[in-house]
């Protein structure tokens, strides 16, 4: 399949990139690794007249452990670590900053991420294949488009019926009679990043930037997927060093797919637990992806665990609660009943895996 025609731009800095985006008013897109965008373009679900490469912009492909103070300006004060290197946090206030162009393989392999945020490393390592992890970026993974049986198809296939909400039409074939797109958001790193309290930095053409919790980055509907405006670009992801007075943090990333390799998740679950010396759960985060149009926190299930010593009965209860609280999108790749049951199972597996490390 050939790509549709477009003009190619390779700006040298973020502001220029944002200005080009603004100048083309919705008819331009940034390309990072291209593994999501180019497939969509080959299918003609997207056909921007302008493609803006981020590869000419320096500093977007490094992982920096830096003091939270230095985050106020965009230049990290500490010398950048080259990809995959190890590094240490110097104090409890420090953060880890990951440039949006760092590849998923570099995220998976970086010693500091393996050590401090193993659920992020595991999530990145679970994506697709070696080749796609070498190309796909963490920024692209977060800005990933939603997926649907009626959308991720060739033009010929889609031409057989009127366009749906996702392609500027006015129907949804998944939830009939609905008034929005219900496509699934299946990024593997996003649930892990939400569990880790990560923040994303967004720059615009006015040369201003903001940092927001990644949890607030998503709209909750299938189209538009995230809150990025036409002239905005995500430049970095910052993860706080979740050290909390004496408690021990443990996590697990769990991905359910129909086969082990090269597969989007049917469900993915990121679990993060804080246990004190007596093994009482002080804090819990359970984030579930791929079953709705954005990752969702199972807040009632989190509450069930807090303040208690976790045993099998409590795990079962948390799984049931999570499953009950999330209204899955039906019939996309699996039946609603299967998805509900497997949320229960996957949450249970995640909590057990997190506790396992004794």
């Amino acid at each position: 399949m050939r790509l549709p025609k477009f003009d190619y731009h390779k700006p040298g800095n973020i502001q220029e990139a944002c200005s080009i985006l603004k100048g083309h008013n919705g008819n331009a897109r940034v390309i990072a690794g291209g593994t999501d965008l180019l497939v969509a373009m080959k299918h003609r679900v997207k056909a921007p007249a302008h493609i803006i490469s981020l590869k000419g912009i320096k500093g977007l492909d490094t992982i920096n452990p830096s003091s939270s103070l230095s985050n106020k300006d965009s230049i990290p004060l500490s010398p950048p670590l080259s990809k995959g290197n190890s590094g240490e946090f110097s104090s409890g206030n420090d953060t880890l900053t990951i440039g949006s162009l760092v590849t998923l393989q570099s995220v998976a392999d970086a010693d500091i991420i393996k050590k401090r945020f193993p659920i992020l490393s595991a999530a990145a390592d679970s994506v697709a294949s070696q080749q796609i992890r070498n190309m796909g970026t963490i920024g692209g993974n977060i800005c990933l488009d939603t997926r649907c049986w009626y959308y991720n198809q060739s033009k010929e296939w889609r031409d057989a019926r009127p366009p749906c909400f996702k392609t500027k039409g006015s129907v949804c074939y998944v939830i009939k009679g609905g008034n929005k797109c219900n496509a699934l958001y299946a990024s593997d790193t996003a649930p892990a990043l939400i569990a880790l309290n990560a923040r994303v930095k967004i720059c615009n053409s006015e040369n201003t930037s903001k940092e927001i919790p990644i949890e607030n980055f998503f709209t909750g509907v299938g189209e538009p997927v995230n809150i990025l405006k036409q002239d905005e670009i995500m430049t970095q992801i910052t993860i706080p060093n979740n050290s909390s007075g004496g408690a021990e943090t443990r996590g697990a990333f769990n991905k359910l797919c129909f086969r082990e390799g090269l597969e989007y998740p049917v469900i993915n679950v990121a679990v993060l637990l804080e246990l004190n010396k007596e093994k009482i759960c002080k804090n819990a985060k359970i984030v579930i992806g791929a079953v709705t149009s954005s990752p969702v926190r199972a807040k009632n299930a989190e509450e069930k665990l807090k303040g208690k010593k976790i045993d099998e009965a409590l795990i079962a209860e948390a799984g049931k609660t999570a499953s009950k609280d999330i209204s899955v999108i039906p019939y996309l790749w699996a039946s609603p009943g299967y998805k509900r049951k497997m949320i229960e199972v996957c949450v249970g597996r995640g909590i057990r895996k997190a506790l396992e490390k004794d």
Partner: protein, 154 residues
């Protein structure tokens, strides 16, 4: 809207006038005649188009040629040296890891990416590294054995 770019393939530099929407795979096969890199799905799901860029296996069908200007690109044609096959190629022949041969260049480039990074992988690591390469003849067992043999120096 053609633009002149320089591509560095297997150590040689080629000056080409191409349009921005051409993929590296199209340019390798159609402009430069490197037809060893295969095309199948064009959508990232089969790995037939795997080439090594800056030491890492990537998919040529999802790479814009413009994006890899001046960067080291290695294709299956570039891994044999002075007329003798690369040890991974030898091993594929020896173990009968080739049926129709369509997936073979991609398999070998993925295997090379793995072995360059991790010279002694175990079976699971080999399977994981080859997970993005689809063999339509389904000869995976022999392919994994061929890669295992190279890592063991056999």
């Amino acid at each position: 809207m053609k633009k002149i770019i320089n591509l560095k393939v297997n150590g040689d530099i080629y000056e080409l006038a191409i349009e921005p929407w051409r993929t590296l795979l199209e340019v390798l096969r159609e402009n430069l005649g490197f037809t060893g890199t295969k095309k199948s799905c064009g959508l990232g799901t089969c790995g037939a188009c795997t080439v090594i860029i800056n030491g890492s296996p990537v998919l040529a069908c999802l790479t814009l040629a413009f994006e890899v200007e001046g960067i080291d690109i290695l294709t299956i044609e570039g891994i044999s040296q002075k007329g003798s096959l690369h040890p991974i190629q030898e091993s594929f022949i020896k173990h009968g890891a080739i049926q129709c041969g369509h997936c073979t260049p991609g398999m070998i480039m993925s295997a090379k990416g793995l072995l360059d990074k991790n010279p002694h992988p175990n079976k699971d690591e080999i399977k994981k590294a080859l997970a993005g390469n689809f063999c339509r003849c389904t000869g995976y067992k022999k392919i994994v054995e061929a890669v295992e043999a190279v890592s063991e120096g056999k």
